[in-house]
């Protein structure tokens, strides 16, 4: 079977986007469309986090001015600042599509986050979300804890079981996902940027009874960079350091299988997370995040092409996510243009400079084989 040189991808969506604020926001917001994405689901981890109606409305307005053809979907940051009535009001106004939950301290600007060992104080909010069809976006990692060496009653093996570190933080979070789904069976939940074979298997388990054509209640998003990276790639290369960290080759293979599977509970969310170059090139305290926005769809196309699954790309970047989020009606979009994948070389620059800011994109200098063009759907 020969590979097509042109594929209509439709209303492409990236369901996990960091556009920051200030100068960085101005620099990277236009990159959403450059990267082949029509619909962007925006993360709320600004400084301070977005927890009010005024701020989320104002933030969307700023983004819309910077990228008039991009459809922005907005979120609140789950914290004690939210109340059920505020969430209800935001849902009724259509100001937000979901709420992002960060375990405290696991990634950039997450210090206001929650304790994943006990979500119960947020249950009144989850009730409202379930009622209004809002999505709960989970950063699925437990914060790291290393148990100290003790000579006391606890054995070393017991201690090993209780350690949480960057390699098992996601698998250790999965029981909390199962419990949430069990307590709120109709609440739409996304396990964001999943990175492990264990998470993929958990999604298969949760969706085991899903009937053909049925829309899942619990899905997982997968980034572009986790389809490329393993631990060896970020060991010694801060440009590839992100949270959750890329794991083992076996995990990467499981992610590629999932993304290209045609299963409707795996959707695209880039977690594109720009940081200024001088915050990546440091010997202590590297900012976590990989910047994929300007080439989001081409990075994916490369992987789907290599595995002979280009025919599944539209499902992953348009169909499944849009259906889950209820964005399958083109009337809800600010532009009806459709993204078209074309076989055309696309070179990633070493550094992106915009608005006096320097950001190193993922795979600097790489020559990609696919580009995205926009076509009026009229």
């Amino acid at each position: 079977m020969s590979t097509p040189t042109k594929i209509i991808l439709g209303h492409t969506a990236d369901y996990h986007v960091h556009l920051r604020q200030g100068g960085m926001m101005q620099a990277v917001t236009p990159a959403v469309r450059q990267g082949g994405v029509s619909i962007a689901y925006i993360m709320p981890n600004l400084v301070p986090p977005i927890t009010t109606l005024d701020r989320v409305i104002d933030y969307k307005k700023q983004l819309q001015q910077l990228a008039p053809k991009t459809t922005f979907l907005m979120t609140f940051y789950l914290s004690k600042d939210l109340t059920p009535s505020l969430v209800e009001e935001a849902a009724k106004q259509g100001a937000i599509q979901g709420i992002k939950c960060y375990p405290a301290g696991v990634t950039t600007n997450s210090s206001a986050g929650v304790d994943p060992n006990d979500f119960s104080s947020f249950y009144p909010i989850f009730e409202v979300m379930q009622k209004h069809n809002l999505v709960l976006n989970l950063h699925g990692e437990k914060p790291s804890v290393a148990h100290s060496h003790s000579n006391e009653t606890q054995s070393e093996e017991d201690e090993d079981d209780h350690d949480i570190h960057v390699m098992n933080a996601e698998p250790q979070f999965l029981p909390a996902l199962f419990k949430l789904h069990s307590d709120f069976p109709h609440l739409k939940i996304v396990l964001e940027h999943c990175t492990t074979k264990a998470a993929i298997q958990a999604m298969d388990k949760i969706n085991a009874d899903l009937k053909p054509g049925e829309t899942p209640t619990v899905v997982a998003s997968i980034t572009a960079h986790h389809l490329y990276l393993t631990i060896d790639d970020w060991a010694g290369n801060p440009i590839n350091f992100c949270k959750p960290v890329a794991k083992l080759p076996s995990d990467r293979r499981a992610l590629i299988s999932a993304a290209t599977s045609g299963k409707p509970y795996f959707i695209f969310g880039s977690d594109s997370a720009p940081h200024e170059l001088h915050k990546k090139a440091v010997h202590v305290g590297v900012c976590a995040g990989v910047y994929t926005q300007p080439f989001a769809i081409p990075y994916l196309a490369e992987v789907f092409d290599k595995t002979g699954k280009l025919d599944k790309l539209k499902d992953f970047v348009s169909t499944f996510g849009n259906k889950f989020y209820g964005l399958d009606d083109a009337k809800k979009l600010v532009s009806s243009d459709v993204a078209v994948l074309v076989k055309k070389d696309n070179v990633v620059p070493e550094v992106v400079t915009a608005n006096d800011l320097k950001v190193a994109p993922f795979k600097p200098g790489a020559k990609l084989q696919w580009s995205v063009e926009w076509q009026s759907s009229a």
Copy 2:
């Protein structure tokens, strides 16, 4: 039991030291004694690697001039440039005490290394080493290999078993260690800078029949920084990135247990590896290595003290290593001064500047509780 405030450590030895060449060599060679170490076993991974008699003699002379009271033990770099007759000649002259084996491509300046899947081409050299009581120092890691995703006959599970990555590179090397020991039962071997519980268990297994007071044939060296670090510490902190990488909390606990165990087959080798700060603070291609030399013994004392094992420190830093290497006779040393550990604050600077070079030491800014003073043994 109250902690003593003064402990005589004797002729302290660091059996894994990188002193580099040129300006860096001038900057860091005096730091061996500052760090409380009398005997330094010097790695040969210069550019080009040390593989001739002239160069090893000349290198030792340069080091001795920079640090007249330090006893330097020298090594060759195992490569195709070595011949059995050259090794025999070097042994007879006492120019080298051992030969360092680097698997190709695993760490700084290791591109001239060997294929750990097949040591057999070096067996004639190992014969000579065994005969002349030279030590074989193994960097015990297999080079990383990720098996690609295939849709062919091999299953995903099979692929998983064959992956080599930074987390399992050492355990995957251990069968090669067992084979070498079995083929050369009298060859003195050091598994350098071991980092995993699996390696510790392998050493226990190899030495299971060791009688009290007997000197082992196969030992492992352990660094100071691996007693502190886990993967979470180098994720995002290039200053803590080294090869082998620090592993999981359970591995760190096993290393602390081993170092403080009083078992004669665990000896100190710092693998102190200075790199200029501008080579650590980069977004791609961070140099692997942690610089511990100027505070080598104080870093260790801190850990031994915290675990209530200060009484085992002398074994780890003097007795066991010196006995294994045949350095237990003070007449072989250029200085008979003994190191004395004293309870006295010792602050690690943010950056060490020497000879116009800047190097960030391990744990910059940390306040250590122990210092080393030198005392004439006369």
